[in-house]
């Protein structure tokens, strides 16, 4: 298992992404929606960074995409459910989806389906902390913390202080005969 991001790397990446969002998007209608559950915490941090830059609060919500996954029924147990908390209307807004790792793209696809059931955003952007490649769907991130080349069977994990006690990201090599994780990013 090797470390790909230290705590400082995470902090710097989030700061840089915040700046990029501020530069590229019209701040008046940006909202952040974190994909539960680590994306949720990252979105809150980003909102804090953005407030530091522009001096104003950005609306932040958390989106659980479990019910929109395309692999329900493939694992022994039903996938675990998290909380959705979006206390604002997404219609007409620039929604920046925030997630920890971008992998196959299926999680983001599910998130977009969920979002469009909640309203009609004027545009959707994607911010991720780590892009590890191996896309299975035509999806790309607009804001990336770090690009990390990985093997298909590797396991990439982001840690956030709120849940794991520290910030960082690690990659573990695949066991020779293991299939990939179900329902990954």
């Amino acid at each position: 298992m090797s470390r790909i991001l230290e705590a400082d790397d995470v902090r710097r990446a989030l700061t840089r992404i915040a700046h990029e969002i501020v530069e590229r998007e019209d701040q008046s209608d940006v909202v952040l929606v974190g994909i539960a559950d680590r994306g949720d915490h990252l979105a809150l941090r980003l909102a804090g960074e953005i407030r530091g830059i522009v001096g104003r609060d950005v609306p932040v919500g958390a989106l659980d995409i479990t019910f929109y996954r395309d692999d329900i029924g493939l694992s022994a147990e039903a996938p675990e459910v998290h909380e959705t908390r979006i206390p604002f209307d997404v219609s007409g807004r620039t929604v920046v989806l925030v997630d920890d790792v971008l992998f196959t793209g299926r999680t983001v696809r599910a998130a977009m389906d969920a979002l469009t059931d909640l309203g009609r955003p004027s545009r959707i952007r994607l911010a991720v902390l780590v892009d590890r490649g191996h896309r299975e769907l035509p999806i790309r991130a607009d804001f990336v913390g770090k690009n990390v080349p990985t093997r298909r069977g590797d396991d990439v994990r982001v840690m956030v202080t709120e849940l794991d006690g520290e910030d960082g990201a690690v990659v573990s090599e695949a066991e020779p005969a293991t299939a990939g994780r179900g329902g990954a990013a």
């Binding site: 329900i72 493939l74 147990e77």
Partner: protein, 314 residues
């Protein structure tokens, strides 16, 4: 979760918490404009209701549809099974239709168990005879937790005809599993003599029990003639055990009054009591859909017993 939900004994305490927590998320879905998620798209849920129960059947139907599942309703008008097909033949037909889940309500205790021998899909007990009604108990647990913040240590009385009540059984088993204190209250003829082995207390004096309660749960008391051999008259039952205005004052502040419905106003509960704010009877109905969605999701969201070899993938 296991393959079927036939009895509260099929669930561990962790399972119950998981169901209640999952139901939270489905409650949130119910507040959206589009109250539907694609989670069970392509699955078929059959409602096999041999007993008339519009309320429960619709609750299950809405739950399944909000999960984007296809719903087939098989509701038998009369409960007499000697008309028409045997349960086994009906089961085999449903099997051939490709039912992923069968929600069954039947007048014979044990029918859901028997159904599991004849079908490959998941079986959900929506009430079997006088045996159990686990989904009702779960939505009641949900309501209690939501209103009172906890289940452990709650003091609950279940009042009425326990002997013939499937709700009383499921609820007692569930509450004991979650660490609540349960007291069964009613005439001695209507409480099974072996009930204390369930981990509950038994009392025949409702006035002594009311002042120490967090929840007063009332059961419907049947007034058909066969039931009347268990107590002398409806009037006597009502006088000794009915929740009237006077008795309500004995309940502590903040305690809940619950009833699985439909109510026999004037027998186990007086009309004006049923409409008091501490009565959460309406909530019980709303929460029913969320809890049933959670159950369908948890049962069908895993690899199905009847399914093909779909391997977990990245």
């Amino acid at each position: 979760m296991r393959e079927h939900l036939l009895s509260m004994h099929d669930l561990s305490a962790e399972d119950v918490l998981r169901i209640l927590d999952t139901a939270e998320s489905f409650r949130e879905v119910g507040t959206r404009v589009i109250k539907k998620v694609p989670a069970l798209r392509g699955r078929t849920v059959v409602n096999l209701f041999y007993e008339n129960s519009t309320r429960t059947r619709i609750s299950f139907e809405v739950a399944a549809k909000r999960l984007s599942a296809d719903v087939i309703n098989f509701a038998s008008g009369a409960s007499s099974v000697s008309k028409g097909e045997s349960l086994k033949d009906t089961a085999l037909t449903l099997q051939a239709m490709g039912a992923d889940a069968i929600v069954i309500r039947h007048a014979s205790s044990g029918s859901p168990h028997q159904l599991t021998r004849w079908v490959r899909g998941h079986v959900l007990n929506a009430g079997d005879g006088t045996h159990e009604h686990p989904t009702q108990a779960l939505l009641d647990l949900y309501t209690m937790r939501e209103r009172l913040g906890r289940l452990e240590g709650l003091r609950v009385a279940v009042v009425g005809d326990v002997l013939h009540s499937r709700v009383a059984r499921s609820l007692s088993f569930g509450l004991v599993k979650m660490g609540a204190d349960v007291t069964l209250v009613g005439p001695a003829t209507l409480i099974p003599p072996d009930a204390p082995a369930w981990g509950v207390e038994v009392s025949h004096d409702v006035d002594a029990v009311l002042p120490k309660l967090d929840v007063c749960y009332l059961l419907r008391v049947q007034t058909e003639r066969q039931r009347l051999e268990y107590f002398p008259s409806v009037r006597e039952y009502s006088r000794l055990f009915g929740l009237n205005r006077a008795r309500v004052t004995l309940l502590p502040e903040g305690s809940l009054i619950m009833h699985p419905g439909p109510m026999n106003r004037g027998v186990e509960i007086d009309s004006d009591v049923a409409d008091l704010p501490q009565s959460v009877i309406e909530d019980q109905v709303t929460n029913g859909i969320a809890v049933r969605m959670a159950l369908l999701y948890l049962l069908l969201g895993g690899r199905s017993a009847a399914g093909e070899e779909g391997e977990g993938r990245g």
